[in-house]
Amino acid sequence: MSVARLRLSGICKRFGATQALKGVDLEVRPGEIHGLIGENGAGKSTLMKILAGVVPPDSGAMELEGKPFHPETPESARRAGVVMVNQELAIAPHLSVAENIVLGAEPGGFFLNHSNARERARSALSKLGRADISLDIPAGRLSVAEQQLVEIARALALGCRVLVLDEPTSSLTATDAAALFSLVRTLRDQGESIIYISHFLEEVQVLTDRCTVLRDGLTVSTCETPQTNPSELARAMVGREVNELYSRRSRTAGEVILRAVNVKGGLKNVSASLELRRGEVLGIAGLVGAGRSEFLRMLFGLDEFSSGQVEFRNDSQAGTPTQRWKSGMGMLSEDRKSEGLALNLSLEENLTLPRLGAWLRPKRLEAETRDWIRRLAVRCAGPGQAAVELSGGNQQKIALGRLLRNRCEVLLLDEPTRGVDLGAKQSIYQLIDELAAAGKAVIMVSSYLPELLGTCDRIAVMCRGELGDARPVEEWDAHRIMLAATGASSG
């Protein structure tokens, strides 16, 4: 057996009062795809920060190809060959593809060596089997998937030994994700080592060779992936049986509260009609970029549409978000970090923003926020804490709490569980179920089919802007949804 490409043992790290890592072991072999999974807060991101040289470990040993590896800066980690490709891509949109690939490692001295740069960029792209991407167009004009490819190419051009992909499929369409998988496999076959971090257990199951599960700052297990299954992995992650992930009590659909009639327009050429009833959860499935979010934003008055109308509570006046909140509609943004929350503001400010009296009553707002924090079991220091300091799941609870506090009758939820851990997911599902049972109406856009199938009463599929008919969930399965979403069958 050859020497491990990367070996971590007994890594500990403490931040103030929290022991983030209590002894993590991780061994990555040459030419393998190694999955790394764990709930938010399990220590994945701290581990990656240590690996990337952002923070030093308190104790523990790290070896890269048998030699001690102690990066003091992100720069030295990269030079040693450990390169991260994060969820948020680091692309300079105005620079060309070639310039992006050699960014930070430009050949030449004071003057650039353009031909060498292009050569290195081209060879990196052809290793990925994508020599078709032009070296000269600005990277900002590429699709998200292609931009990600440019980042991976940048890692290859650096001569990386261990490539870390952090949630790489979270903003990809199913087709692009499949392309990414085959690319990652190609790299593995060329002898690269890849650490693959993902919340999607099905992905980990399909793609990885071995997989390490972290929980509460400890390595709970490392196993050969083919010998396990997603539900076993889930159990290892949360440390208990996860049976009731989705909850659905009996719901009775009531009167129509929101009606969209031939709403058309927007950049994605949305064309949609639907009726939403009280007491139901209506799912909208489809590929990323199909226009689902845009349609939701049109309903809420955030984006304009060119024709058709939206009737909310039998009122068809075009609404602004201000009016929507007032009349009992609320929306959860798919992009929690840049739109959903004002990260630098406090939880209280974030939670109460849609509904405030002309004169603020700070004591009352604080008490109210405290109350919601308790009811939603948000883990935080208090109402005054900045939203940025919370984990993804807790942030999402605050963003959702905004709709609950406003007593919204119609809730538009765009990817409500994106980037949140299993525990928070479960409570979000429960919450949605409670709301529907209480006679509220929910529209849920999601790219994660199991949650749509587990939570919704009816599902409609959007494909290239066209919204198909909403049909009872019993008439759907994952395969049929994918066919409709890719336009293979009329939805």
Partner: protein, 315 residues
């Protein structure tokens, strides 16, 4: 919350104390007198009032480079109104109204045409300076003296000029506006994350336009004091003052990225700048030394602020 807000103003406050102690140690007899304190505060009043308005603009994520020119326009308008026979009170109101109008123009251009605040107000800076010169015929205008000069008059020992009291009253008003009203909360929200504000139903455009109007109106009030100080309208007065005003706000802990800042910090920032100017004069240092010191203080204040944020983030 409250504690955090005091902590945010603590940095500038410590800076102010340090600067005062330094000058007091070097020139106790001339620096620490009531007359000198009154002079320092008098010198703060114009910048202080204008920077209260600028605080709102900066918290909302904007910037207004035209306030120096707005103050000049204000003094000229007041002078013209007085020579036309208007009462002093009326003339001051017209001056403030004209200033507010300038802010409204900037605000509408920024929101309707979606132009960068920096560019729009840079243009306004030049255009309004020109307008002031045109209205005044490129000459200072000195009408007969009125009670408007009383705003900046130094009185007996133990008293402060009216303008200083006006600044303090306005500071309280802005603090209440920012912290106790929905509008104030919206200003922070728009500056912190405009997308979130829009999602939450905050009327973003209206907030922005109002912020520029209020900012310019405060520059108008500052122009009343400047008029009193000069006892006339001068189209070439307060050139470049907007930079001192922005500096006061930034020293006070506001972020040019928006979403952060407060009245207390801004006032302290404005006073620090006057204390430095006054102290350097007392030490007999040349003007250029004082300019270098002010520059260093601006950068140091921002640096300290970011260091403090970095350490508090890691807890």
């Amino acid at each position: 919350m409250t504690l955090g807000r005091w902590a945010a103003a603590a940095g500038p406050l410590v800076g102010l104390v340090l600067v005062c102690v330094l000058f007091a140690a070097l020139r106790f007899e001339t620096f620490v007198t009531w007359d000198n304190v009154a002079i320092i505060l008098q010198q703060t009043a114009v910048i202080g009032i204008a920077s209260l308005g600028m605080t709102l603009v900066i918290i909302a994520g904007g910037i207004d480079l035209s306030v120096g020119s707005i103050i000049a326009v204000g003094t000229v308008v007041i002078a013209l109104c007085l020579t036309a026979g208007m009462s002093p009170g009326m003339a001051a109101l017209v001056g403030i109204g004209a200033s507010a109008l300038c802010g409204a123009v900037s605000g509408v251009l920024i929101t309707r045409l979606k132009l960068l605040p920096f560019v729009v107000t840079l243009g306004m800076m030049g255009a309004l300076r020109g307008a002031a010169k045109g209205m005044a015929g490129e000459q200072p205008i000195y009408p007969d003296e009125t009670w408007l000069s009383a705003f900046m008059r130094l009185g007996d020992a133990g008293s402060l000029p009216l303008g200083v009291w006006l600044m303090l009253v306005l500071a309280v008003a802005v603090a209440v506006l920012l912290r106790q009203t929905r509008f104030g909360r919206h200003v922070y929200a728009v500056g912190s994350n405009e997308l979130t504000a829009r999602l939450c139903g905050v009327p973003v455009e209206r907030v922005k336009v109002l912020v520029y109007i209020i900012g310019a109106a405060f520059a108008g009030i500052a122009s009343v004091l400047q008029f009193g100080y000069l006892t006339g309208g001068d189209p070439t007065t307060t050139v470049g003052l907007e930079l001192n005003i922005i500096a006061a706000v930034v020293i006070g802990g506001a972020s040019l990225n928006g979403g952060q800042g407060g009245v207390l910090g801004t006032l302290v920032g404005a006073v620090i700048m006057s204390v430095v100017a006054n102290g350097c004069t007392k030490l007999g240092l040349a003007n250029w030394v004082q300019e270098i010191v002010t520059g260093v203080i601006i950068v140091a204040a921002v640096l300290l602020d970011s260091l403090r944020r970095r350490t508090s983030r890691q807890d």
